[in-house]
C-alpha cells in the first residue's frame, strides 16, 4: 500500500454507475418493446381499422413534439460537455432549457389528449364502445397506454433532471463526479429513443 491516494469518496465508480444505468435502460427497452410487439400484432390483424383510427391523430402536433424532444436531447447532451469543461453556468442554463422543453412537450400532450376527450375518445368511453370497431378500440387503447407511459417517463425524467440541476448548482455534481448528470442524460435519451418509434407508428399511418 505505497500509493495511498487521498480520495473523498472511495465508493465512487463512474463506469459501474454507467453500467447500472444501462442495465436499467435495457429493462425499459424491453418494457416498451413488449408494447411495440402487441402493437405490431394488432396492426397486422386490423390494418384498415388502424388506418382509419389514426386519421384522428394530428401529425403536425406529433412532429412538433418530435422536434421538441430532439432539441431537448441535444441540450442535455451539451450540458454534460459543459460540465466537463467546468462551465457551471452553461450547464445549469442548458438543463433549464431541457426542463422547459419537456414541459412544453407535456403541455402539447395535454391539449392533444384534451381534444380526444372532447371527441368522446378515452379508454372505455361510450363513444368508443358503441361506435367503434374492435380494431379502432385497440388502436386508441394502445395509443393512450403507450403515449401515457411515455409521458410518465417524461415526468420522471424531468424530476431526475431537476435533482441533477440542483446538485450541479450545489457543486456536488461536477467535472470529476458527473455520473448523476450523465445518467440523467442517458434516461432522457431513452425517452427520446422511444418517441422516435412512437411517432411514425401512431401519427404517420396513411
Amino acid at each position: 500500500m505505497e500509493h495511498v491516494t487521498q480520495h473523498s469518496d472511495p465508493h465512487y465508480d463512474q463506469e459501474a454507475s454507467k453500467l447500472g444505468m444501462w442495465l436499467f435502460i435495457f429493462t425499459e427497452l424491453l418494457l416498451f418493446g413488449g408494447l411495440f410487439i402487441v402493437y405490431s400484432i394488432y396492426r397486422f390483424l386490423n390494418p384498415e381499422a388502424f388506418q382509419l383510427a389514426a386519421q384522428a391523430l394530428n401529425p403536425v402536433i406529433g412532429a412538433i413534439n418530435t422536434i421538441i424532444l430532439l432539441v431537448s436531447s441535444m441540450t442535455i447532451a451539451m450540458s454534460t460537455s459543459a460540465l466537463q469543461k467546468k462551465n457551471k453556468g452553461l450547464t445549469v442554463f442548458l438543463l433549464e432549457i431541457t426542463i422547459m422543453l419537456a414541459l412544453i412537450f407535456l403541455i402539447n400532450k395535454y391539449f392533444e389528449w384534451g381534444i380526444k376527450f372532447d371527441h368522446g375518445i378515452w379508454p372505455g368511453s361510450e363513444h368508443m364502445i358503441n361506435d367503434m370497431s374492435k380494431g379502432e378500440i385497440l388502436f386508441f387503447g394502445l395509443y393512450f397506454v403507450m403515449t401515457g407511459l411515455h409521458a410518465l417517463h417524461i415526468i420522471i425524467g424531468m424530476i431526475i433532471i431537476i435533482v441533477a440541476l440542483n446538485k450541479v448548482q450545489k457543486g456536488t455534481v461536477h467535472a470529476d463526479r458527473p455520473s448523476l448528470l450523465e445518467n440523467a442524460g442517458l434516461y432522457w435519451h431513452l425517452v427520446d429513443l422511444i418517441w422516435i418509434f412512437l411517432f411514425p407508428l401512431f401519427y404517420l399511418i396513411h
Binding site: Q14, E15, K18, L19, W22, F26, L29, L30, G33, I37, S40, I41, F44, L45, P59, A63, T66, I67, L70, V71, S73, M74, A77, M78, S81, Q84, K85, E182, G185, L186, H189, D192, L193, I196, F197, F199, P200, L201, L204, I205, H206
Partner: protein, 94 residues
Amino acid sequence: MENEKHHIVPYRVYFYILLALITLTFGSIGITHINVGEYSVLGALIFSTIKSFLVLTWFMHLKFDQPFLRIMVGFVALVFLAVIFITFLDYYYR
C-alpha cells in the same frame, strides 16, 4: 480516442447530430406521404432505426464508451428482433 475516459464532445457535433435527426424526421414524414402502400411503414421504421442509431452512438456516448456496452446494446436489440420474428412466425402460419 476510443478508450479516453473523459472524452469531451464538442457542442457543434451535438448540433450536427440534431440537424441530421430533424432531417430524418422530415424524411420519415415525407416517405409516409408517398403512396407506396405497405412499404411506407417499412420506410418509416428504417428512418427511425437510423435515428435511434445516431442517438445511441452520439447522444448516449456509446461511440466513446467501452466496447462491451455496445455489444450489450446490440445483443438486446437482437433479442428484441428475435422475439418479434418468432411472434410473427406464430401469427403468420396459424
